[in-house]
Amino acid sequence: MAHLSSDNRQMAEALVACYPKRRFALLPLCHLAQAQDGWLTEEAMEDIAGLLGCTPAEVRGTATFYDMLHTEPVGRHVVTVCTNIACMLAGAYELLDHAEASLGISVGQTTADGEFTLEEAECLAGCDNAPCVQVNHRFFGPLDPDGFDALTEDLRSRRLAETVPAHGILSRIERSVGLPARAARTGAEAGQQSVSATGPAAGAVPE
């Protein structure tokens, strides 16, 4: 029984079709699985390996390199506080201390009710709004301790459900086409998945 839903397997095939080799779609598929489950489960990694024609260990080996891919469960809201230079100069460590006290957890932990996981981030490129915070990769800032508490309260009460989707969901906009330019070159009908599933037009991609 496949772990990824049939809709997501279909989506996975569409993603795979955008790359010259199936294996190259590994990161987009990890994001897809994380969007489904909130984190990257063992079963999902096995599914991805099957879809890409590689081993689950290769999927895990790659996924664990990347900070955004969680191979352990996380809370509903992953709150990342940037403490890099620009945010630090704007008091980010004071904010992080407050976040730990306010949520009652340390960096890397999840609240008992599963609402929040707290992380310390490297620069999130939000330095004009320092200190900045991301929740499920949506930006907030500049935040002071009171602003942080107001934010977590809004999250708890689901008032921000529109702007902050569940953890793992990045783009809510899906690609609307396949690779029509490539399809036209290979003489097939534009947008058909069968075209890209046969591999690159040039057919010269080395292993």
């Binding site: 990161l27 900070d67 004071e94 899906e174 399809a183 534009a190």
Partner: protein, 440 residues
Amino acid sequence: MTTQAPRIVTSRVGLPDSFTLERYLATGGYEGLRKALSMAPADVAAEVNKASLLGRGGAGFPAGRKWSMLRKATTTYLVVNGDESEPATFKDHMLIERDPHQIIEGTAIAAYATGVELAFIYCRGEFALGLERLQQACNEAYEHGALGAEVLGSGYALDIVIHPGAGAYICGEETALLESLEGKRGFPRIKPPFFPAAVGLYGEPTVVNNVETVSNLPWIIAHGGDGFTALGEGSSTGTRLFALSGRVEHPGWFEIEMSKTTFRDLIYDPSLGGGIPGGKNLRAFIPGGVSAPWFGPDQLDLGLNQDAVGQAGSMLGSGSVVVMDSDTCPVRAAWRIARFFYRESCGQCTPCREGSGWIEKIMHRLEQGLGREEDIDLVLDACDNLSPGLAWPPKQTTICVFGPSIPSAIVSVAKMFRDELLVHVKEGSCPFPPDTVRRG
């Protein structure tokens, strides 16, 4: 002072609907691409060469020359680097969210000039809104006919794929980015080959350009390379986005004509940084990302010019300027930068993987007042393992330039703020106030 230079990459970002196709078309969008398609690809490349557009990613390599290195082959790729993660750099983030069509159009122009039929825009994964805006723009561009089997009815065929990163600073390094795009760990590749133009994505010749670099192309094609070189001075032509942060009244990005503006203008001009809060004095500033050696107040009158900053012993790098005032503990700042490198080292090369950890550890105990005087030499020795001689530009003992970038901040503190380091040691604590949040 600021100049009356036109806004090249930020002309529409102030508009609330700047990211929509409607607004883009109403403000001259896709006209640069239309003009490019009426020219021969080689002529498009020649125009960009004439503009002598320097890459805006950090290394400052001329974009036109990068293109001309592309080995003629049946399959070539273009990859646009939107994995902006250099600390205190946030210009590409803004461009991705506020003017994604400009990136699509610039990518299409670059692809046409280099004969590429499949391009990837690698967008930093943490930019969720940016990914949505880019994907929306990409979809709209297909619908509008600016991408696909017949780009604006020209017979040129181009596909663009938006690819999300997954959180790793090193993937901004172009060969690591290519590895990541192949579904692997972002390990920088061993050089030679030095340029992806020889062996790039999927082993094929590839051009990698930064988001801001390609964002300049629609304007350059529409106004000509001469229009671009009329701005700036020497090899630093056109305008450039600078990201200003730290202890300034108005942190933010500013599009500024190259060379004509000084660091003093950027930090103090009321229309730009607006000076240091509370009228405090400047202690130091970082002129181009945390990999760059620091400058003191005596360098404030240096122009924002790539060569001038290079000759003064640092770099414009990613165009991010971090301001430290008299309350800033320079040791703490250097420690935090070291901690960043320690956390983000990919771990391939021993000097970097191990060195970054030791440097972070020593800097931390120095900042906490738990260090010894000998620690200063010890940390410099660890730095020397990464970059023998501790000179600028740095020598390298690792696969990529990440490792040799680590010493910049440490050497800066040891040179500029030795007294402050020694006070930490003598007093057994940090003499500076903690960094606090501004309320309100």
